[in-house]
Every structure is written in C-alpha cells, then in structure tokens.
C-alpha cells in the first residue's frame, strides 16, 4: 500500500492543489465539461423521451439508441470529433460526452411516461383534460422519479467519462493521471494514485448528491415501489 500512501502525501501538498494546472484548475475544467455535456444531453434527450413516451410510440428506437451507443467506445468518439469540422478544444469533448449521456435520459423519460397507470390517464381524459394538460399535470408529475433517476445516471456517467477527456487534451481531472503516466511509474506513481483517488471521490460524491436529489423529489408513497422496479429498469436502460 505504499503507493496509496504516496498518493495521500501528494494530495496533502497544497501546491499540488493551487499550482496552475493543479487539482483545483482541473476540477473546475472537469465540472465545466460535465455541466455543458449534461445540459446538452438534457435538451436533446428529455423532450424526445417525454414526447415518445406521451405518444406511446418509438420504444424500439429508444432501445436501439441505447444499445448502439453502448457498443461505441467513448475513446473513439473523443478522438474522431476533433478531426471533423468541429475542430479541437472543449467543444468536441463536450459533444462526445453528451452523446453518451443521452441514452439514460431518453430511456428513463420514455419508461417514466409509459409507466403512468393507463387508468389514471383515462380518468384524466374523462375529466376533460386535453393532451397537453394530461402531459403537464398528470404524466410529468408522476414520472418525476424516473426523470431524476435518468439525470443521476447521466451525471455520474459524464463525471466518470470526462476523465478520458485528457486523452485528447480536453483537460479535466484525468490530466493529473495521464501526466503521472507520462512521468513513468517510479516518478509519477504518487501522482497517478492521487489523481485516481480524486476522480473516484468526485464520482462517488456526484452519485451521492444526485441519489439524494432523486430521493427528495420522489413522493413518499412512490419510494418503496420505485426501488423494487429499479433493478429491472437498470438492465434495459
């Protein structure tokens, strides 16, 4: 475990945090990339998933998109996008990560709207609600737990994969690790481990934070029922 101790020692040096290109700089880059990638994925994935779920069509499309993006290596999209007309810099990294964040948002929004009890919808239509009203005041509120679960999956995934941005000079916390690998194990070992620890902590923090948000927005009566269903939903989403 001496490498682990070396990593802690590295993290304990304030200069490693505040230097230009230090942990704080990289953390900020990481969070900026994550924010924009998740935002773009939300703008694309949520309306599409909600619309398809509301219409009750396109389930095949959702599954196909989810399966196809699973087969594409993140590394491939990260290296290909900068070589297209988009050019180098932060934008291709953000777009690549957004592409991988769309499926969880899309699938969860679709499943959430589809899982609204048909009898509830019939009752709402019987009360004279139009399609738009049904969506706004019945379907969306009832599928909020699913939307939150999708957001959590997407955020955690983007935080994790943003680490790879460093492989194409996109910055982020992964840069600490790859710079350590660049130095070689004997000189950079401590830095590699320290970067690894920082990234793991950030990912777990994001997971915990958004799990809390998911719990907060889920109405109490839905909580126990949700937990039972999630095991199955996760295998398809």
């Amino acid at each position: 475990m001496s490498y682990f101790r070396d990593g802690i020692v590295w993290l304990n040096d304030p200069l490693n945090w505040t230097n230009p290109g230090g942990l704080l700089d990289r953390l900020q880059e990481h969070l900026v990339i994550t924010f924009w990638a998740v935002l773009i994925a939300c703008v694309v994935g949520l309306p599409l998933g909600i619309w398809l779920g509301h219409r009750g069509r396109g389930g095949g499309l959702v599954v196909t998109v989810a399966n196809l993006t699973r087969a594409i290596p993140t590394l491939a999209l990260l290296t290909i996008l900068p070589l297209t007309a988009i050019g180098f810099g932060k934008l291709p990294v953000i777009l690549a990560l957004a592409v991988f964040a769309v499926p969880p948002l899309l699938a969860n929004a679709y499943v959430g709207l589809r899982s609204v009890d048909p009898e509830t919808k019939e009752a709402a239509i019987g009360m004279g609600l139009s399609g738009g009203q049904l969506l706004r005041s019945v379907e969306l509120p009832l599928s909020v737990p699913y939307l939150a679960a999708g957001l959590r999956t997407a955020v955690v995934q983007v935080v994790a994969t943003a680490t790879l941005a460093t492989l194409v000079n996109g910055g982020g916390l992964g840069t600490i690790i790859s710079a350590g690998f660049g130095l070689g194990i004997s000189r950079g070992g401590a830095q590699i481990v320290a970067g690894g620890i920082a990234v793991v902590l950030l990912a777990l923090l994001a997971e915990g934070l958004f799990a809390g948000i998911e719990r907060l927005v889920t109405p109490r009566p839905l909580r126990s029922a949700r937990r039972r269903r999630r095991g199955r939903a996760a295998t398809t989403a």
Binding site: A71, L167, G182, I185
Partner: protein, 239 residues
C-alpha cells in the same frame, strides 16, 4: 501523454493532418499495409474480452447464488459492485497500475472484470428471484435438495436473464478495452489512440473504431445464439 500538443493550441502543430486528400477517413491501403498489426490488435481485443466475460461469469454467478440463498447479503453484494461500477475506468487503471505493473495486461483484465461483475450479478440475481414459488415447491416435492434444485431447476430458469447480463457485459467490455490504450494494452484502442497521436491519422482511428463496433455486434449475436441453444424450451414460445 507529453507527445500530444498542449490543450491551449487550438490547431494541431503538425501541418500535414489537414482536411486534404492526404488524410482520408478510410484507406484500404492502410488496412493492407498494416494487416498484421490490425490482426494482432484484434486478436488481443477478442482474447481479453472473452477472458473477462468468462472470469466475470465464474465469479458473478456464485456471488448471485450466495445473495439469493442468504438474503441479508443481497444488499452489501449489490452495493459493493455498484460502487465499483461508479469508479471511472481511468481512475481504476490509475489505482491498479502501480500495484500490478504499469504496462501489464493483468491490470486491464482485472479492471474489466470488476466492471463486468455488476452487470452479470444483477441480472443473475433478478433471474433467480423471479423463479416462481410453485416451481420451487414442485422441485422440493420431487425430492430435490438445495443444490439439486439450484442446478436442475433454478439456474436453468434463470439462464435467459444470465445471458442478458452476459450480453451487456460483453458489449460494454469490448468498448472498455480501448481505455487500456493509455498503458499500451488497449487492443483496438491502441489503433484509435495511436492514430490520434500519429499526427491525427484518421484511417487508423476509423479502422479501430469500426472493428470495435463490429466485434461488439458479432459477439452479441453469438451470445444470443448460445442462449437459444442452451434454452431450447423458450424457443417454441418466442418464435
């Protein structure tokens, strides 16, 4: 990664990698000239993927059975594999590499197995818990003990779910192997990252990517076929 141009330079410092005909998205010439390299990378990719999936299966199914038999263990087993799954791949490599060797194949293999575990465990457990209670009663009535029932009744019934878990694990493993490129053990990922480092050579990157996606689809289809052969009773219902 010091050989890559710094992040601040918006344009690659080396000029030839422009949009011109010198850097096509795909080139048969490249594939022919480098057939040996490509085949060895592909072989490495297939080998490490199969090894990962087999090891994950051998570890995950007993764990799932343990969680199924001893209910209090279900939570901890799922939570632990869930936490492992949350850890970013590069970070996992970073934490494993100093212990197991910075350019070692084992490092990548262990990281891949840890990721595949969750997918297989969760699906196997779902399959086992969904075995109907009356089927279990009937098996007990026929005189099956705990192990006999598991082997002859519960596992066969859980097989479709286990195969789904294996398919998910296989497809994501094929994609994840590429991350190993950071320590030179990435199979087709070496082509992708190598092309990027090699003056942004598009043909090399695209060849690696296409082979990756095709490999994932082929292995997925193969597992569907294996699943059908192993569960002949479900074929009549589905087709």
């Amino acid at each position: 990664m010091s050989f890559l141009s710094p992040a601040t330079a918006p344009v690659p410092l080396a000029a030839p990698a422009g949009d011109g005909p010198g850097n096509p998205w795909f080139s048969w010439q490249y594939v022919q000239d480098n057939a040996d390299t490509i085949m060895s990378k592909l072989g490495f990719h297939i080998g490490i993927t199969l090894e990962t999936v087999v090891i994950a299966l051998l570890v995950a199914v007993p764990l799932a059975v343990l969680a199924y038999w001893i209910r209090p263990l279900t939570g901890p087993i799922l939570a632990l594999s869930g936490v492992l799954y949350t850890i970013p791949s590069l970070a996992l490599l970073a934490l494993l590499a100093p212990l197991l060797g910075a350019t070692s194949r084992v490092t990548v293999l262990i990281a891949l197995v840890l990721y595949a575990l969750l997918l297989v465990i969760r699906n196997a457990l779902t399959g086992l818990t969904e075995v109907p209670a009356d089927v279990k009663d009937a098996a007990a009535g026929m005189g099956y003990g705990r192990f006999g029932r598991l082997w002859h009744v519960e596992l066969p019934l859980a097989l479709p779910a286990i195969v789904i878990g294996l398919r998910l694990a296989t497809v994501s493993t094929v994609a994840l192997v590429t991350i190993g490129a950071i320590i030179g053990q990435g199979g087709l990922g070496d082509l992708i990252l190598g092309g990027f480092a090699n003056n942004f050579y598009r043909a090399e990157i695209v060849t690696g990517t296409v082979l990756c996606v095709v490999l994932a689809l082929v292995l997925d289809l193969a597992l569907v076929g294996v699943g059908r052969v192993l569960t002949p009773w479900s074929r009549r219902r589905t087709s």
